[in-house]
Structures are given as structure tokens and as C-alpha cells.
Symmetry: none
Subunit: 225 residues, 4 copies
């Protein structure tokens, strides 16, 4: 499936030595992650890179296209990670296994690319981000596309409750997943779970507990209804 690019760095940029490109991308990502789109300063970037202000405009048309390019890098990273995390699933894979793996993939992503995750949060909530809805839909549709069929399968096979509409199942999984990851990345969002200070094994336990709870529900089994 071909993915059209919203951004387009110039040929000049494409042909840059990989090392230089990587440095520039890193500096731009850091700036956008730290400050958000609007507040990010290209002055600051060129200053930290030690390149001329005009050079940035040899590489990109304008600030917006720079931002879109950096977001493209994020999209690619996410896609790669999701595909890798689901790569070994068998067709009949279990929904909860998939959720679990995605959760850990998310945690790994945040650990490894905290700036990219920051960037994503910025896009989600900052004002006047260029093409925000388009950008979000690129990333946010993945879980839906990914979990939807698995939920359907689970419902068909009787492992997932047929009493709950598919969209609600996905909503709950997605909300839990998202919020858990947000809480992992920003301690003030973890609702008191203390995720940021957990060691890996504790984290695993917490994830498993979350999934189990989602699956089984919060009520005691005496009075469901």
C-alpha cells in the first residue's frame, strides 16, 4: 500500500550524507517535541546545529513542511514497530495477546523514542497544528484496523462478549491502552498507578492486570447484570 507524503524535503536534503541528515532530523524532532509546532523555533534549531538559517530552506519549503516531514518519520517508526510486534501472530491470534503485545510495543516505543511520542501528543492536543486531523488519522486508525478484526473474530468464536458492540470493545481497549501509555510517559496522567517509577517486571504485571481486568470486568462475579 503506497502512502502519499504530505511533506516533501527537497532533493538537496535527500542527497545529504546520512549522518548529517540524521543530525538535522534529530534536532528538528527534539525542537518540535520540546516546544510543539507553534513554539518550535527554527532559529534555535539552526543555532544548535551550527548551520545557516538559509540551509533549512534549501532542505524544506517552510516550517510546515519540516513539521510534516518529521511526523512522517514518526508514522514510519510506528508502522514498523506495530508490524514487528504483530509479525509473528498467527491468523487466529488471540485479541488479548495482541493487546498485550501492542502495550509492550508502546512502552518500548516510548522508551526508545520518547521524543516521537511527545511529538504525537503535541499533535493530538496542540492548537493549529497543520493538517492535524489528517496526521492523527494516520496513526489512530491503526489500532482500529488492527483490533477490529480480532474483536470480530473473538465475538464470532464466543471468546468476546457478543453483548457489547464491537466499536465499544475497541473504544475501551484503545482508551485503556492510550491512557496507560500516556501515564507511562507523563506521570501526572497515570492516575496514581505510579508507572514511571516501576521496574520492568512490575510493569509487566501491571499490564497483565489491566488486560485481565478489561477482560473480566470490574464487578464481582456475584452480581453481574
Amino acid at each position: 500500500m503506497m502512502q502519499e507524503r504530505l511533506s516533501s524535503p527537497t532533493n538537496t536534503f535527500s542527497k545529504l550524507p546520512a549522518e548529517k541528515k540524521a543530525k538535522i532530523e534529530a534536532a528538528l524532532l527534539k525542537e518540535f517535541a520540546d516546544k510543539g509546532y507553534q513554539k518550535a523555533s527554527l532559529n534555535t534549531v539552526v543555532g544548535s546545529l551550527g548551520i545557516a538559517k538559509g540551509s533549512l530552506y534549501q532542505y524544506f519549503a517552510n516550517k510546515e513542511s519540516i513539521f510534516l516531514y518529521i511526523f512522517d518519520l514518526f508514522t514510519a517508526k510506528v508502522k514498523g514497530m506495530l508490524q514487528r510486534s504483530s509479525g509473528h501472530e498467527l491468523p487466529q491470534a488471540d485479541l488479548w495477546q495482541a493487546v498485550r503485545r501492542t502495550m509492550f510495543a508502546g512502552i518500548a516505543f516510548i522508551d526508545r523514542y520518547p521524543d516521537f511520542y511527545q511529538l504525537y501528543l503535541n499533535v493530538l492536543f496542540e492548537h493549529e497544528v497543520p493538517q492535524r486531523e489528517e496526521l492523527i488519522s494516520r496513526v489512530r486508525l491503526f489500532p482500529m484496523e488492527y483490533f477490529g478484526p480480532l474483536v470480530a473474530l473473538g465475538q464470532a468464536q464466543g471468546r468476546i462478549s457478543r453483548a457489547v458492540p464491537l466499536s465499544m470493545v475497541v473504544f475501551l481497549i484503545d482508551a485503556s491502552l492510550d491512557r496507560f501509555l500516556q501515564g507511562y510517559a507523563r506521570s501526572y496522567l497515570d492516575g496514581g498507578l505510579g508507572l514511571a517509577t516501576m521496574g520492568p517486571s512490575e510493569l509487566v504485571a501491571e499490564v497483565d492486570l489491566l488486560i485481565k481486568t478489561l477482560k473480566n470486568g470490574l464487578g464481582s462475579h456475584e452480581d453481574q447484570g
Copy 2:
């Protein structure tokens, strides 16, 4: 419970006629909600209010203190609404009734004070918001304080599963609640539920379904474990 002020409008501001104060507060809220903290322009505000630039600096020390003051107004509004929505609960009130009421209170809040809700989202995710963590903790601790005892009670009485730690119960409820409201306010966050276009009765049904699902869980009742 005494709430310290983060901001401190001057005496000058306090002694302003209530009507003028209200106008100024409304204009400031609108600007911060529309543009976020960083992009909000005091120039724009004084322009729309028709007051002098210097007057704002007679009322407040600087942009930050203005922002904090407006956030204080939001905090007060939230407290008021939560207290009102829980005001008639009996001590032994059911957790799910409380969640339900909170959900509807949230929806009502968004409908009635969309700008305040926007402001809150800005604070949650915008960068370089002054004293963000402090601000958030003020609002985000409320659900914990509010739901925590109810969950504990439910567990003590056997209505809530004792197998799930209290903090996880609150996390899940809070995550679902927050995400549901975010989805209601920003359609691209509703995960496909279509909340923004629902009529009131549909919304009620959706809330009830969400709560029921939380309570009963996603798994079919044949293979829980």
C-alpha cells in the same frame, strides 16, 4: 478544604465592577482556550475588550499570572459541578451511579463551558504551560479522591472485585471517563463511536453501555479466568 490561589490578581482587579470583571475573564478565557497559553495574545484580548494594554498589567503581574487566574476559575467551576453532581449521594452510594453521574456532569460541563474544557485540554498537553503539573494535579486528583472511597466501599461490600487493586479500578474508570469526554469534545478522539453527532438519548445509552461493560468486562462469561 482551603484552596490556595496560584495567581494573584491585584486589588485593583478585585475591586472592579463585577460586570467588567466578568467581561475581562470571558475574553481571557476565550483567548487561552482558542490559542493555548503560548499563542494567546494579550494584544488581541485588550483589542477585543477595548481596554488599555496597561490596564491588564494593573490587574495582573504578567501573562503567566493571568493564565493561572483563569485556570483558577476553571478549577472552581469543576469543583462546583462535581460537588453538585455528588451532592445528593448517600454515604453508601453505589460506585456506578457515581461514575454515571460524573460522566453526565462532564458532558454537561463540556456543553456549557466548552472553553473551560478546551483550556483544560490545553493544559494537559501543551508545552511550557506554567506550573502545568501543579495545575493538573488540582483537577486530576478529584476523581481519585472521589472514586477511591467508593471503590473501597464497593470492595468491602463485595460489589467490586477484590481481585483488582483499587488503584487499577480507579485508573480504568478514569481513563474511560476521560477518553469518552475527550471523544465527545473532539470527534477525532472518539475512536469511531461517533459521539459528536449523537442525540441526548443515544448518548445516555452509550454511557450506560460503557459503564455496564466496565463493570461486567469484555470477555464472554463462559471462559473468564
Copy 3:
């Protein structure tokens, strides 16, 4: 007859001390006259005035509105001069007297406000001048409005040839007048007449000769037709 303003300096500017206003207007006019609209640099202006860059933007919305304001000043100056020069004409005034006075008024205008005349030439021929056609029509319609009725009267009374359409009469007068003044202001446009180096009395003679020639024509009187 009320004249709407295309430009609008702010109240701030209007209330400036007359002396300061005059200095700013003079500096702006000089810059636009020297460099044209596009090349004019507001940096240069504030530098020469010794005011802050931002101050200009307290006075005007943007470069375009600054330019339009300066052009408004020119329009006013032209109107004033034309009215003064035609103020003493009797209703049945002779066309050639009117042309003559206008010519001298133009010369006096160029002598007294060379920068304004420069500005006018810029508008006539520079590229991408904001609202050029509108600006030009403001000034260029004056001669047409002014000479038209006089020519009509002359033709009615038999002093102006009825064989030549009114529009052509006005065209020829206007072209001669314009070109003479352009030649006076820019020596390389005087077609060899050497206007720039003439003393006042020579200039008077030249004007009179031009008018007489226009009136009587270039052909010898033996072979008209």
C-alpha cells in the same frame, strides 16, 4: 465630496505630536520615493528616524497601509494645488489658460514636492504596487474631469476644432503635459529639450511655445488637411 481612505493609520499615529508625525511622514515618503514600494525598507526608515521597529506597527497595520497613507498625502497635495491653480478661473475660462496654469502648477509641484512626484512615477510604472489602478485613477482622472468640460465648451464656441474628438484633444494635452513634467523631473525623458537646466523665464517661454504649438499644430499653414 467625501473621499474614502484606502489607508488607515491608527489612532496612535493620529494623536502623535504634529512635528513627530511630519518627520515620520517625510521619512516614509523619502523611502518610497527613493526605492519604490517593493524595495522600500521599513528597517531603513525606523533606522533613520531613530524609532523602534515596532513603533511603525503601532502607527500602521502593515507596509501596504503605510504606502497607501503616504499616497493619500500625495493625493491631497495634488488636489490642493489644482484647486488653487484653478481657483481664480471664471466659469467661461479659456482651455489654454487652464492648460498653461496646470503646467506651471505641475512645475511648481515638482519643485516643491519632488519626492511626491517621484512617488507618483513609481506608482505609474512599478510592478505589484498595491491597488495601483485605483491609486492612479484618483490622480489621473483629475485632468480629464478638469479639461473635458473646457474642451467641450471650446468646441461649442468654435475655439477648438470640432473635427477632433474631445477624447483625442484631452489625450494630446494630457500626454504633452505629462511628458513635459516628466522631462522636467527626469532629464533623460525631456527628449533633448534640456528642461532641467532652464531658468524660470526660459521655462515659461518653453511652456508657452508648447501650448501654442499644440493649438496651432505642427504643419505649415499652407498645406493643412
Copy 4:
């Protein structure tokens, strides 16, 4: 008559394939005509040509020398056209026939090379055009050189009034001619004649009327003096 070059493209440029040279010249002319000297962007030109930025600097020393070269092309075109239009005149040719032909040659020139005419107008009135006076004198002397002798002849033979100095005759002819052509190229300069929308035959009639009027004068024949 040898014409020195003001500009000097490098040998590299001279040895370029004629076709490539022509393309480059056309692109440069278009840019200078569209934007004027100051605003013309070499970036734009190399972009549209698809050649390297550095190549332009292999061909020319700098922007100024590029501009002067393009103007040289214009000068050559004008000379060619004037010579062709006067090529078949006999020595005793009539002044008015010459004026008429020049007028039509001008119209044809504008129709065929609108960009070159634009370029000429730019030079006439734009500011800070390099060596403007020198450039203008090259083109503006042609009419004088051309008409001067014919006027002298006409006066000697009694067909042109001896009461009017030769320089004034040429001035009037030149002014009318120039202004007519300017009005043809820029409708807002035609003084209401409506030249831009005329068909060919109307245009011919208008030219003839203009010449006849110049020749015979504007006064009625009853009271010349």
C-alpha cells in the same frame, strides 16, 4: 555605427548551443519583465529552467550583468525593427509617413514582444536600475536621431512650420508616440481612448487621427495665432 556592449556574458555562455541560449534568454527576459530588476529572482529563473544556480554565474558575472545583457537584446530588437520600418523610405521621405510607420512599428513591437516592452517601461521608471540613464539614452536617442533630420527637411521644404523649433517638434511627436504606445500597453494610461480594446482598423483610424491632429493643431482654423 558600432554599438558597444554594456554587458559581457562569458565565453562559456557564448559557446552554448543556440537553443539553450535562447531558452535562458527568454526565461531571464520574462523574469525581469514580470518583476522588474530589483524584484526579479535568479532563484526563480534557474528553477524554471532546470539549470544549476552556479551555471548562471558561469555565464554572467552577477545579476547586474545579466540584466544589462537582456537589455542589450532589447536594444538590438528595437534597432532592427526601426531600421526595417524605415528601410524603404526614400531620403526625402515625409515626416508624417515616418511617424505613422513608427507608431505601427511600436504597436507591432508591443504585440510581438510584450515582455521587451515591459522591460523598457521598467527601466524607464523603476528605481535603482543599474546604469539606467545610459540604457535609456540608447533607446530614446533613436527617435531623435531618426526624426530630427526629417523635421529639418520638412522645415526646409516648408511643410513643417518654421515657427516651432525643431526640438519642440520632436518633443511633441515623441511624447504623443510614447504615450500612445504606453496607453496601448497599459490601459490605465490611455487617457480614456480605450486603445486596449480596439480592433486593428479602429487602431489605424486612431493613429491617423492623432497624426492629423498633431499636424493641423487643435485650434479651429478661424482663430489661429
